[in-house]
């Protein structure tokens, strides 16, 4: 999967026209809900926003443009369930309060009417007990959505992390 940032980009066609406004609002709401559920630590609800076979993975920019070594790659609900179990207590790391700011969402119609791609910028802050709020991570979400029974879900989310020097604690949901 070696690629460079541009290939993860969206075709430079006039993006917004390609997806109707109702789809745009529904998918924006889905992206916002994924961020909120992560910040509210409702991990099991967060998992439901993904399709059965969905893929959720993360990679640092350095490795995206080198040989594609990922931080992790969860494929399917079982793998997501494992990450959720780790977040809910198999990690013995005290959970901190995160905040996901997502903006600059650009949509692109997928191959079928029930498939849409989007890229967006995220900036995540983290506040540990009794510490200041700090800038935790920044980067891009490269998402693919699929609509099943009128309900949009994440089919694929790749988190591209800008930093190649991660903070001391990076187990929070990205």
């Amino acid at each position: 999967m070696p690629a460079n940032l541009a290939e993860i980009a969206i075709a430079d066609a006039p993006v917004s026209a390609s997806v109707d406004i109702e789809t745009e609002r529904a998918l924006t709401a889905l992206i916002y809900r994924a961020a909120r559920l992560a910040d509210e630590r409702k991990y099991l609800d967060w998992m439901e926003l993904f399709t059965e076979g969905a893929e959720y993975s993360a990679i640092t920019l350095e490795n995206l443009t080198y040989k594609g070594l990922r931080l992790f790659r969860d494929v399917g609900k079982t793998a997501l369930y494992e990450r959720v179990a780790w977040l809910m207590g198999m990690w013995q790391v005290p959970r901190a309060k995160t905040l996901h700011m997502v903006s600059n969402i650009e949509f692109e119609a997928g191959e079928t009417p029930n498939s849409v791609k989007a890229i967006s910028n995220f900036l995540m802050t983290r506040t540990a007990d009794l510490e200041h709020t700090v800038l935790h991570a920044a980067g891009r979400y490269a998402d693919r959505f699929e609509r099943e029974g009128g309900q949009w879900r994440f089919a694929d989310r790749l988190v591209i992390v800008d930093s190649n020097l991660l903070p001391p604690e990076f187990t929070e949901l990205l």
């Binding site: 350095e62 992790f72 369930y81 001391p168 187990t171």
Partner: protein, 417 residues
């Protein structure tokens, strides 16, 4: 490798006089984690005097490829020089001090032109020309303006450097660890690096790879897996400050699924593979080999050929940078390679399902050391048999680090210092 070597005699050990009533070789003075003067001594007496891993040859395939590394505060260029051999020199211009190679990785087949005033250096760091040199008259001949070469050597494709030109040869330094390094990285390629900040003294991270006693407590999944299991494994001082911890896949494969159900209150059907630990298999041993002072190898002897190494380097008395380099076999199939690229780091790095807890352990010790005056000594007394090896949960591996540490640090460790 004779197994009968009595650990350093207690009495004349710099930590002989400790509060735990133990032999000086079985305790740690917690001052070494918090005292800036100790860190300064470690930089000069350890980091600048030992072989330091900086690159794998597979990261420098083309002529002119270079990587810059930072050892004891010095920036070093490691490059595939014009004869195709590896060269290493201090990344500093002899004119007025600018670094010659400004990127962590790059390609400079024709050597380096310092961007500040244009002085030229070849791929070995040799000074070749200063533009408009007439203004120096003959004075450029009065001294060498070469960027000082850095002693380097290669072992099984791994490039090591030493700031001390008199350091013993690499193979001798690696000693008993050599053959494993050959086996685990000899036919391999580096697949990428991930770095993160450690919130604690650098030794806390390297100690973690000398400690096979912590996993079933620090990592809930491993704890569940070892429930009611007679734990197999070997813990060994390889001498020279190196150590090896090896243990087979063991434990109760369903334990993790049960633990996950207890924690989440949900049971997830579907392929169990994702959340089952590997089935017990005495032939496959997981190896954690620690090379003095700050290098760790993790591989399986199952011929799987994948694995990773980690280095830790201090950026302050209570901060360090850990860098992990993942490996795969040079000739593995694309399927194996893709699987490796996707899963090698799953348990590792600051985001890892295992290492996430190890970073937390370093953080907790760093805070605990605030009470260093009241609780001065740490205990590394596990394993009472003479000799240099014991069971999975013994601490011959950890004591081997501190035996070597005391040799290098000498009088800097005197408690009154």
């Amino acid at each position: 490798m004779s197994d009968v070597l009595t650990p350093k005699a207690g009495l004349n050990d710099v930590w002989g006089d400790n509060d735990l009533g133990l032999d000086g070789s079985r305790v740690i003075d917690r001052r070494i984690y918090v005292d800036p003067a100790i860190l300064a001594a470690e930089q000069e007496k350890i980091f600048a005097r030992t072989w330091q891993w900086v690159a794998h040859e597979s990261e420098l395939p083309e002529l002119g490829d270079y990587i810059t590394a930072s050892v004891a505060g010095r920036s070093i260029v490691v490059s595939r020089s014009d004869e195709g051999k590896i060269a290493a020199f201090l990344n500093v211009c002899t004119h007025r001090g600018a670094i010659l190679a400004p990127h962590p990785r790059g390609n400079a087949p024709d050597g380096f032109v310092c961007f500040y005033h244009g002085w030229c250096f070849d791929t070995h760091g040799k000074f070749t020309a200063a533009p408009l040199a007439a203004a120096y008259g003959e004075n450029l001949t009065k001294a060498s303006y070469d960027a000082p070469p850095v002693r380097h050597d290669i072992y099984a494709g791994n490039v090591f450097v030493s700031l001390d030109p008199n350091v013993p040869p690499l193979a001798e330094f690696l000693g008993a660890a050599g053959p494993s390094i050959e086996k685990y990285t000899g036919r391999h390629v580096a697949l990428g690096r991930v770095r993160w900040l450690l919130k604690g003294n650098w030794k806390l991270w390297h100690e973690n790879f000398r400690d096979n006693y912590h996993p079933m407590y620090t990592h809930a999944a491993i704890g569940a897996n070892y429930q009611g299991v007679k734990i197999q494994g070997r813990n060994e001082d390889l001498t020279g400050g190196h150590s090896l911890m090896a243990f087979p896949f063991q434990g109760n494969p369903d334990s993790r699924k049960i633990l996950m159900r207890n924690i989440t209150g949900k049971t997830v059907e579907g392929p169990v593979s994702a959340h089952r630990p590997p089935a017990p298999n005495p032939d496959v041993r997981h190896n954690i080999m620690a090379i003095f002072p700050n290098l760790d190898f993790q591989f399986q002897n199952s011929g799987d050929g994948g694995g990773f190494i980690q280095t830790v380097r201090p950026t302050g008395v209570d901060t360090a940078i850990v860098e992990l380099v993942a490996f795969g076999e040079a000739n593995e199939t694309p399927e194996v390679r893709a699987q490796r690229l996707n899963t090698t780091l799953d348990g590792q790095t600051a985001a890892g399902k295992i290492s996430g807890d190890d970073n937390e352990a370093a953080r907790r010790c760093n805070v605990g050391f605030g009470a260093m005056r009241e609780v001065r000594w740490s205990n590394m007394d596990r394993g009472q048999d003479d000799g240099r090896f014991g069971g999975k949960n013994d601490e011959y591996s950890l004591r081997s680090f501190y035996d070597a540490y005391k040799d290098y640090m000498g009088d800097s460790l005197a408690v009154g210092a």
